[in-house]
């Protein structure tokens, strides 16, 4: 029983990271109808920036906040330079754009910081959390920071005017323009926020997977699985999907014989395929109440 609880809690902790990645992917998907394959690489790059800041002697939490700001600006910049011009281009052109972005960010990170694996600090420590053997302080910190951010995002989208405008721009761009919303800048803002959310995920997972240019590859696949499971049209679904995938991954690795650590990744892929076959809209995919 203790093993079970332990695996579930550890799953919730990594699930928090998948939830962040899934949310970032869904935010951009809602705005421009494309999956950002480079979301993980952007997060990795952000994590390197925070690492560099700390190498220069900036304390952890200042580096954290500074990295969020830089990532936010970087996300907006990428949208303005690369994806705004592609807005009316065919799907494949956009896909090529995302793959290019993936390759560029990955190799630039390797060029600047090289491909050797680096240790990444945690501000929470790795001792048992509250004296319990079930979960470490860093895992508890991952869950705590993620929940704090999710609540903040919820309040932002539900109760601020700019959040309302962003929701309107994503739901019905033409109607949003007709009430005076600058939809183009709302998309850019969405990119900035997705990029900052990815940065949080990268910084929190870096002490676990270690810092290197390919660190987010697996994480992003789980993020996609979470987004598909929850439904690409539902930010809430993506978050819940993230936690579910995290727990599912850990339990499968522990209890299904022959799966183990090496076969966890194919499980995420199998999950994506299963959901797409049996419930294409995902668990929380849009169910619009409509009266005719």
């Amino acid at each position: 029983m203790e093993l079970f609880t332990n695996q579930v809690l550890a799953g919730v902790a990594t699930g928090a990271i998948y939830a962040c990645m899934a949310l970032a992917v869904v935010m951009i998907y809602q705005a421009i109808d494309h999956l950002n394959f480079a979301q993980g690489e952007m997060a990795m790059f952000s994590t390197f920036i925070s690492w560099q800041l700390m190498q220069w002697g900036i304390p952890y939490w200042w580096a954290f906040l500074l990295t969020l700001a830089i990532s936010f600006a970087g996300g907006i910049l990428i949208e303005r330079l690369l994806f705004k011009p592609l807005a009316k281009a065919p799907v494949l052109t956009n896909v090529a754009g995302f793959i290019a972005l993936f390759a560029i960010v990955n190799s630039v990170a390797g060029l600047i910081w090289d491909f050797t694996i680096k240790q990444y600090p945690t501000p929470f420590g790795s001792s048992p959390f509250l004296g319990s053997q079930l979960i470490s302080t860093h895992q508890a910190g991952m869950i705590g920071v993620t929940l704090l951010m999710l609540v903040g995002l919820y309040l932002f989208f539900q109760f601020t005017r700019i959040g309302l405008a962003m929701r309107a721009a994503a739901a019905l761009p033409e109607s949003a323009r007709l009430v005076g919303v600058n939809t183009s800048w709302m998309i850019a803002l969405g990119w900035g926020m997705a990029s900052a959310i990815g940065a949080v995920a990268g910084i929190l997972i870096a002490p676990v997977v270690f810092l290197e240019p390919n660190m987010m590859g697996g994480v992003l696949v789980y993020g996609f699985a979470a987004a598909v499971l929850g439904g690409l049209s539902s930010p809430l679904g993506a978050v819940i999907g993230g936690f579910l995938v995290g727990v599912f991954e850990n339990l499968a690795g522990t209890y299904i014989p022959g799966v183990g650590n090496e076969l966890k990744l194919p499980i995420a892929l199998a999950l994506i395929i299963t959901v797409l076959v049996f419930k294409p809209a995902g668990l929380f995919g849009r169910a619009i109440v409509k009266r005719v």
Binding site: A171, L172, E174, G180, V181
Partner: protein, 237 residues
């Protein structure tokens, strides 16, 4: 009276297809004008061209300012509210959020709150349903919501694209009564595009008749309504 909106030689294109062929008309401040015509005559295109939602050439001036080259949201910010065909309701949001979106360009939060109350006075059914998802409203209620959302901008000019479409005759009468009231009491200049010519002519003071992208007739609404030749050849009733 000075012309509030001046449209000169407007030509609009969907790809290679030309939809408007040199259309000119003017709206006086405070007027309630209707633009009539058959399906495909170019009524909707005319409204879309004013808000720069379709490629067009020609001159459009609103209160002395040229509208060409402005983005849709910047045209709206000048005080032109456009209720599109199909109403453009944000179906997954609540009725109240829809109203708040109508005022998204304003920053006077106290006045916005009182304006929402004013809309609830105009349309009591919206107050009853203010926490409901807008997609659950009936067609008539959604049209009321669309008009209320447009008014939340505190527009100088309101463009309505076939507000009667798909509504029961009784509801259309109600709606038109409210439009008349808004025009008189709130001093909002209104341009309403309609296929329901009979009703629109009762409501409006000025009328333009459009055929294949050109204005073929203009004048006082009552005179056009009483001219049997016009009615038979263009309005079909």
């Amino acid at each position: 009276m000075t012309a509030m909106l001046n449209v000169k030689d407007l030509r609009a294109y969907y790809g290679q297809v030309q939809a408007l062929h040199g259309l000119s008309f003017a709206l006086n401040e405070g007027s309630l004008t209707t633009l009539l015509g058959a399906n495909g005559a170019g009524k909707t295109t005319t409204l879309r061209a004013i808000c720069n939602m379709v490629r067009s050439t020609g001159a459009i001036e609103f209160e002395g300012k040229s509208l060409s080259g402005r983005s849709t949201e910047n045209v709206v910010r000048l005080g032109i509210a456009h209720v599109p065909q199909g109403r453009g309701t944000f179906t997954t949001m609540t009725v109240e959020e829809n109203l708040q979106l109508g005022a998204i360009t304003r920053s006077d939060s106290k006045a916005i709150v009182s304006d929402i109350e004013r809309m609830y006075a105009h349309f009591p059914v919206l107050k009853e349903r203010h926490t409901q998802q807008a997609g659950t409203l009936s067609g008539g209620e959604q049209q009321m919501l669309a008009v209320a959302r447009a008014l939340m901008l505190r527009p100088r000019l309101m463009l309505l694209d076939e507000p009667s479409f798909g509504l029961a005759p009784l509801i259309v009468r109600d709606l038109f009564k409210i439009l008349g009231k808004i025009n008189r009491e709130d001093k909002v200049t209104i341009l309403v595009v309609e296929q329901n010519a009979q009703l629109a002519l009762e409501l409006a003071d000025q009328a333009y008749v459009i055929e294949t992208g050109k204005i073929v007739m203009s004048g006082n609404a009552k005179e056009i309504a009483s001219n049997e030749d016009v009615r038979k050849s263009y309005l079909g009733y």
